[in-house]
């Protein structure tokens, strides 16, 4: 029987938290053992998923999308209009990108992404979220004092530039398109992608350096 009761869930949580070993490694090992014994998954399949997100799916994808948008006005229009279908064109669709939304920085505005209620993130396009993005400090502070948070990332947004924070409360996921820096005319998509930082696509980086990340 399905059961979606909050109090019951809290009770089970308290019981497991009190009685399982406290080391997170052991807790996750317990889940893996149970899942494997139950025939849900093989350990080798888990290895493959870890490899996929360690080596293949990550912020390089987002960076290539940004570079492509800088180079191809039609792609950029598509991306701003319907990011989910635009990235599918290049095979980058995946986990939590089915309702993707791109927002573009300008001279007068800066975009910044958060999920205050959990830690929603466009995993399929940017890989695993950074620890700071999931931290209570970031989630709590960035909607209230975004400029102060940005200074901790080394970003000073002038008072005349508007900061727009996007709190991912439903299934929309955000990709920030940073400004293309001057001095990059005639650069290739790969060269451009190499200067697009992961943080700039979340909005905690702004002025991209011409030196490769």
């Amino acid at each position: 029987m399905a059961n979606f009761d909050s109090d019951e869930a809290a009770k089970i949580h308290r019981h497991l938290h009190a009685h399982m070993p406290s080391d997170p490694a052991l807790r996750i090992k317990a889940l893996e053992s149970l899942a494997v014994e139950h025939g849900m998954v093989s350990p080798k399949t888990l290895d493959a998923w870890v490899e996929a997100y360690s080596e293949h799916i990550g912020p390089k994808r987002g960076a290539l999308v940004v570079a492509k948008a800088w180079l191809e006005p039609e792609f950029k229009t598509h991306l701003l209009k319907d990011a989910a279908s635009a990235i599918a064109v290049i095979g980058y669709e995946g986990h939590a990108t089915g309702d993707l939304k791109a927002v573009e920085n300008s001279e007068n505005s800066h975009n910044l992404v958060v999920c205050t209620l959990c830690s929603c993130y466009p995993f399929g396009l940017l890989g695993i979220s950074p620890p700071w993005y999931r931290s209570a400090a970031y989630r709590a502070r960035v909607v209230r004092e975004p400029r102060k948070v940005l200074t901790e990332f080394g970003v000073n947004v002038p008072a005349s530039v508007a900061v727009h924070v996007w709190d991912s409360t439903a299934e929309l996921r955000y990709l920030v398109i940073p400004q293309r820096p001057a001095g990059t005319d005639n650069w290739s998509q790969e060269a451009l992608a190499a200067i697009v930082t992961r943080n700039s696509m979340i909005g905690t980086d702004r002025d991209l350096s011409l030196e490769t990340v």
Partner: protein, 217 residues
Amino acid sequence: MDGTHDLGGKQGFGPIQVQHEYLAFEHYWEGRMWALAQTTRNPHLTIDWFRHLVECLEPQAYLTMPYFEKWAMAHLAGLTMSEVFTTAQIIEGTCNKTNERPPDATLEDVLVSARNKSRTFQLKSTIAPAFKTGDIVHTLSHGKRGHTRLPGYMRARQGKILSHHGAHSFADEGAKGLEMAQHLYTVVFSARELWGNEASKIDTVSAELWESYLVSA
């Protein structure tokens, strides 16, 4: 619920532990948990019920557990409530089964599966939307039991409809295993409306809010 997960605007947290480079997993078990989340099947586990299971952790645990440990606890509680495992089996770390394993997936298989994870939460609805772009709206003043996605800091505030996304699967019902279409909007708030005069005049905060969280201004 007015839970500890509802962190937006809460004060007293220290500086951000900034990290610039990409490192998918800092610990072995983080990668395992991510992989398990992609593969472990629980017939009742909607994304919303999963989120609510995380929210139901005791506040002390919520604030101190590593992110992927919270995932593990949510999956374990969910599997218990779906009667796949018992808490005794979980504490023991074994269900004493040797069911046949599904075939090993290769990296190539997984990269295909990962692409196939893409899905939209947009649903068809025959109901006309109550609001349109540019409308001024107020948010609800009171919280709600169970899972809901109107952050506390956005309650009883005035905002503007920035865009309408059609109907999306309504999270509050999704957390009960149901799929119900409800119109979804991006609502933009001035930072001053949310935080008073300590905020910049020109800054904004936006969020996706379902129609039932909103009332006409």
